[in-house]
């Protein structure tokens, strides 16, 4: 009897050890396959951009200009940065001058053809910001030459 019990206990212990061993192998295989399929989890990938982002977007303002984007620091800046610098750079905005109507038309064109999302209740702030800070200036039919850097030209 005791012999039989002892034997049974040994078998059971062996059985448990085997289960643990196979379990560990199973986990290892699973982990290996997962890493093989998703090699990126071994790298802390989002770091590159985000580390830079934190100081930059809080951003320096110098002479009323948000230095990272070149946008004028006025009401609506945050909304404009969030929605208008995802696809294209801020420069595409700051080099343009449009009326309120023109900016709205541009937003509609981007929504219809360029996959811009619905701006929801931020649209008003964005449009106002653009129409006030990037309004057209009268240029006439030919402007005076400006920013001429004078230098001596020898023969």
């Amino acid at each position: 009897m005791s012999h039989e019990n002892k034997f049974k206990q040994q078998v059971r212990r062996l059985y448990h050890k085997l289960i643990i061993a196979f379990g560990l192998i199973g986990i290892a295989v699973f982990a290996f396959i997962y890493v093989a399929l998703n090699p990126s989890i071994l790298h802390n990938k989002p770091e590159e951009t985000e580390i830079i982002a934190i100081p930059q977007v809080e951003g320096k303002i110098e002479n009323g200009i948000h230095m990272e984007t070149g946008f004028v620091d006025e009401e609506g800046l945050a909304e404009v940065i969030q929605n208008c610098t995802n696809c294209h750079s801020a420069k595409l905005v700051t080099q343009n001058r449009m009326t309120k109507e023109g900016w709205i038309a541009t937003i509609r064109w981007m929504q219809e053809t360029q996959n811009l999302w619905d701006l929801g209740n931020q649209e008003e702030a964005i449009v106002n910001y653009l129409a006030i800070n990037y309004a057209p200036q009268k240029k006439g039919r030919r402007e005076v030459l400006t920013n001429v850097e004078w230098y001596s030209l020898k023969d």
Binding site: I51, A53, H88, T106, D155
Partner: protein, 407 residues
């Protein structure tokens, strides 16, 4: 470590936390978007451009030259403007690059590898003027939206490749072919793979000109990445947007090509002239074909001060789309009087022409402007004022001028 958990929420989540405002539709922004403010590569190093070039836009890349930078007879890469509509293709595999010719008007679609193109067809080199349709847009009033090019979105480099017409002949066209449209490997700004950033083209007659090339070299070297490596369609004298970069497909169409930026208001002007600021319906806009006559004074740089009695040598280039420049003049009195410049013949059709003059008629000390005016072989000269206003600000070929002081 805090940083890392911060990050794991995703760029936009963090972004809104930082800004203290909510991104209402943030969840709809596709993954992979990085707000542009966070990227700042050095374009001059990246594209080997001269540091005096002007960056108009970083995403997509749009960079232009200044007049005095374009003094070379053959534009080197460092002074060549970049006008991109989408993102530059990533991971270009030149060994597996292919060009597929398809469309309603091919007898049977056919695909060529890059090496097949290079070996199967005779190669030609032409110097070709490429000017952005929107070059000069910044001067329009009321302003037109888009990149605010001043004068530097023009180049004239040597392009080497095979004639598109030879390839089309090898494929075999049906008699109803009227237009070709290119397809390319660049990526739409929204990163939506279904969308092409730009897919323009030209009528079949332009496609079959000798000078219309499928080019793989610029100035004797592989085309620089930003200019279309490894394969570019080059159709000189027409808006440079017809010269598709990173080309991997040409569709031969039995109707006007209707790819991205062929329709609507893109690269179109009102079929009938309109008053400045007037609204124009899409159906009243017509496609720009040949670019108009134009010129640039590339020497000296604006702002030269000379001594009284000193003469001033000027030089530059002039071009006229499909045509030739037949006359080149300058004025130092705002157009009251004009004097002839010497104008060279183009090295080949569609190449710009070089002009020069020696000015020794400044009457007295003071401020002057030297204005240059080219006239094409059909008698069309450049206007001194802005030409016809159009909603998208194309085709500004007004005279170029530089400021001079006689002291």
């Amino acid at each position: 470590m805090k940083r890392r958990s911060f990050i794991s929420k995703g760029a936009l989540g963090t972004f809104s936390t930082i800004l203290g405002a909510e991104i209402v539709f943030g969840h709809e922004v596709p993954l992979g978007y990085t707000p542009l403010a966070l990227q700042d590569p050095d374009p001059f190093k990246l594209f080997k451009k001269d540091s005096d070039m002007t960056v108009l836009n970083t995403k997509p890349w749009n960079i232009e030259a200044k007049a005095h930078l374009l003094d070379d007879k053959i534009t080197p890469n460092k002074f060549m403007f970049i006008r991109n509509n989408g993102l530059i293709p990533e991971n270009i595999d030149v060994n597996n690059w292919s060009l597929t010719i398809d469309g309603e008007s091919v007898k049977k679609p056919k695909t060529y590898s890059l090496s097949e193109l290079k070996t199967k067809f005779q190669q030609y080199t032409y110097q070709l003027t490429l000017e952005c349709g929107g070059n000069g847009r910044s001067e329009f009033n009321p302003p037109a939206k888009g990149n605010q090019w001043t004068i530097g979105a023009v180049s004239c480099a040597n392009w080497t490749g095979v004639r598109l017409k030879d390839v089309l002949e090898d494929v075999g066209l049906k008699s109803d072919a009227v237009y070709i449209g290119y397809h390319a490997a660049d990526i739409h700004l929204s990163r939506n793979p279904e969308k092409e950033p730009i897919s323009r083209g030209v009528p079949i007659a332009k496609a079959q000109q000798d000078e219309t090339l499928l080019a793989f070299q610029m100035n004797g070297e592989d085309i620089p990445l930003a200019h279309g490596y490894p394969l570019r369609l080059v159709s000189g004298g027409w808006p440079a947007s017809t010269s598709g970069k990173w080309v991997n497909g040409i569709s031969v169409r039995n109707k006007e090509h209707d790819g991205a930026k062929m329709t609507g208001t893109s690269y179109r002007v009102p079929c009938e002239p309109v008053a400045p600021g007037e609204k124009v319906a899409d159906e009243d806009m017509c496609i720009i074909e040949s670019m108009p006559v134009k010129s640039l004074i590339t020497y000296p740089k604006s702002g030269a001060m000379i001594k009284e009695g000193q003469s001033l040598n000027i030089r530059g280039h002039a071009w006229a789309g499909e045509l030739e420049v037949s006359k080149m003049e300058y004025s130092v009195d705002f157009g009251s009087t004009w004097n002839n410049c010497t104008i060279e013949k183009p090295v080949n059709r569609l190449a710009w022409q070089h002009f020069s003059a020696k000015i020794s008629d400044f009457p007295k000390k003071g401020y002057y402007e030297v204005w240059a005016r080219a006239t094409d072989s059909q008698g069309n000269g450049q206007p001194m004022l802005l030409p016809g206003w159009n909603p998208k600000g194309y085709l500004n070929n007004a005279c170029h001028r530089i400021a001079i002081k006689v002291i």
